[in-house]
């Protein structure tokens, strides 16, 4: 009797399994909605050009050697095929941004950083540093201007492949000077001229120094250049770990504190912030370039799914808005 019951139970299970098996196979063929939509709208992001999709602006913060992380950020964005339509930057952000916007490949920019030292950008040398401290004669960034002009070929802003803007500070008036037209090289030089160390740059009757004093992450400039989506790269230092012990470190610390204070406000204007972990790198430590580039790569890869989703969502909304607006216009006619 028991044997019969067991047999019957087994048979029932088999019949049930047989009956639900087509449904199981149908379920296995079910498509991943999110994956499909992501793929479809990501293709739209890559293939469409503004104004058919929102303009993507990348804002590169200042921070000396830490700014080499921007190179890693660009590398991953390129890898993902994410288009960058507008670039703005301050200080080292202006330097990297100008090189990239002029069309220099990221491989080339990376190899340039392997060769670069402060002596390529400034007149820094043992005697010049002694002179700086003894007779208060500031160092010059003239070499930086020549370096940029050499690399990008004396270009003007309107000749760059990607619209670009950068920020400097007028030391006389305290005004924020936004560069988006004229020659690129002097603008970048002014944007990256650390006050108190380098001689201010005289440009069109103004005395210009590092833009980090007034705007270390120029998100507003990206907005001004008509970016619809703003991604910022924040490379601020963890100044709470420093113990300033000499004039240079006090100066660097003061700039960092002010930069941090200003960045807070500017970051509110962004849609997404990439934070490479470079806070322990000093502004002068150019030799830690590989470390900084890798930090940029890691931080961007980490945030990439979120970034992609943000851009896809906005592109979708943009497409629908445009289509609906065009549709209602047709109906009005």
């Amino acid at each position: 009797m028991n044997f019969r019951k067991t047999k019957l139970l087994r048979l029932t299970i088999l019949v049930i399994l047989f009956l639900i098996s087509p449904n199981l196979s149908a379920l296995s063929k079910e498509i991943d909605e999110e994956n499909f939509l992501t793929q479809y709208f990501w293709r739209e992001v890559i293939t469409l050009k503004p104004p058919e999709r929102p303009r993507i602006g990348l804002v590169l913060g200042g921070g000396g050697a830490r700014g080499l992380a921007h190179i890693g950020v660009f590398r991953v964005l390129e890898e993902a095929g994410l288009p960058v339509d507008i670039v703005t930057g301050t200080s080292v952000g202006a330097l990297v941004g100008a090189l990239y916007s002029s069309g220099i490949s990221i491989d080339r920019i990376e190899s340039m950083t392997e060769e670069i030292g402060w002596s390529d950008l400034t007149n820094i040398s043992a005697p010049s540093v002694v002179t700086l401290f003894l007779s208060e004669k500031l160092l010059s960034t003239e070499k930086m201007e020549k370096y940029i002009a050499d690399k990008i070929g004396n270009k003007r802003f309107d000749e760059l492949k990607i619209p670009f803007g950068c920020v400097a500070t007028d030391l006389r008036t305290g005004e924020k000077i936004i560069f988006y037209e004229g020659d690129v090289a002097p603008a970048v030089r002014a944007s990256a001229t650390i006050p108190g160390v380098f001689t201010p740059v005289e440009y069109r009757h103004r005395l210009l120094v590092d833009g980090g004093l007034v705007d270390n992450i120029p998100t507003d400039v990206a907005r001004m250049l008509k970016a619809d989506i703003i991604i910022a790269v924040n490379i601020s230092a963890d100044f709470t770990k420093n113990t300033p012990s000499n004039i240079m470190s006090v100066l660097s610390q003061s700039i960092s504190i002010q930069g941090e204070f200003l960045s807070g406000e500017q970051l509110k204007l962004t849609d997404l912030v990439i934070n490479p972990e470079v806070s322990d790198v000093g502004i002068h430590e150019l030799w830690r370039s590989r470390e900084c580039i890798d930090a940029g790569i890691v931080a961007t890869r980490k945030i990439m799914p979120k970034l992609k989703r943000l851009i896809i969502d906005r592109t979708y909304q943009w497409t629908i808005d445009q289509k609906v607006t065009a549709g209602s216009r047709t109906i009005e006619k």
Partner: protein, 321 residues
């Protein structure tokens, strides 16, 4: 009497010596047998994937006498056990021991490279993989490892160079696929397509066809994209995923009728397919059929399983209102 005693003690000495020889031989024999047994047990644990037990055995084995090569082998396996249970520091120690015993053995260098790669010590991993290639020019794993590291670092041209070398050693679809990915990262769409086509020729699969069509549509070559998706669909006529991609490609091309037909076929097969309803809504809107579009998008919203599709449908409906 004394003579007899002397003979007896002599005999006793001989017997004792003989016994000693027999015992020591037996001891050596037992020890040899013992270490072989331990080795067999360790290897058995190792092959069955019980790395913790294998590790205990390999550690015991280090107390026995072995030749240099045998010691290196034990360290190699000990290191592999540590590696498998993610004790990378110990794995490095063991592999280093193996390298010091057999520096010219490329397997030891390869093991080290692999652990360096896993622990993110990229530069050291590159150095070791290159060492392997110096010892064994045509080593597939080392070339593949170098390609993988360079790809991760975003150095795509170097990655491609190494991956291409692996193709000479042992061509397979997966390598063509990763080379295609590298070209995609450099936005060399044509080469990305060419490499993916090679992968398909070696091992066709619908996912590759779908991705190939994606690469062609990026280049605005919708006809070619449609052609590849059609091939994929003929191989798997009931694949809703391929059908949806084909519908999307036709939609982009402006073939609204074909798009609608395909979406209706999908809905005949699965009336609750939210993506198909959503796309049908989009197509109808593009054809100025606002009311039809609203109905389809509403359906998509109610059937959607993902938050993304729900949000997208809601956004569209809000705009339509």
């Amino acid at each position: 009497m004394i003579k007899n005693k002397l003979i007896l003690s002599g005999l006793l000495m001989v017997v004792i010596h003989l016994l000693l020889v027999i015992f020591s031989s037996f001891y050596v024999y037992c020890a040899e047998r013992d270490k072989k047994v331990h080795l067999d047990i360790a290897n058995m644990y190792f092959s069955s994937g019980d790395y913790v037990s294998a590790l205990k055995e390999y550690t015991l084995l280090l107390d026995y006498q072995w030749s240099k090569e045998e010691f290196a082998g034990i360290f190699r396996n000990k290191g592999a056990c540590h590696e498998n249970i993610k004790q990378y520091d110990y794995a490095l120690d063991a592999f280093h021991q193996a390298v010091s015993l057999e520096p010219r053995n490329w397997i030891n260098q390869l093991n080290l490279a692999s652990v360096f790669e896993k622990t993110g010590l990229t530069e050291k991993a590159i150095e070791k993989y290159e060492e392997v290639l110096r010892l064994n020019k045509e080593n597939f794993e080392a070339r593949y490892g170098l390609g993988r590291i360079y790809q991760k670092l975003g150095l795509n041209s170097r990655a491609i160079e190494n991956y291409r070398q692996t193709l000479i050693i042992k061509p397979n679809a997966e390598i063509y696929r990763v080379i295609s990915k590298c070209y995609e990262s450099t936005r060399d769409w044509q080469m990305a397509c060419a490499m993916l086509k090679q992968a398909i020729s070696l091992a066709p699969n619908p996912e590759d066809y779908v991705h190939l069509s994606f690469l062609y549509s990026i280049q605005n070559q919708y006809d070619t994209a449609i052609q590849y998706l059609s091939t994929a669909l003929s191989n798997e006529p009931k694949s809703i995923d391929v059908m949806l991609h084909l519908a999307a490609a036709n939609f982009k091309k402006g073939n609204y009728e074909t798009t609608k037909n395909l979406l209706n076929v999908i809905l005949d097969m699965d009336s609750k397919n939210a993506v198909a309803h959503f796309f049908l809504g989009l197509v109808l809107y593009f054809e100025d059929n606002v009311s039809g579009s609203r109905i389809e998008i509403e359906k998509a919203r109610s059937l959607a399983k993902s938050e993304m599709l729900k949000e997208y449908s809601e956004y569209f409906i809000k705009k339509l209102n």
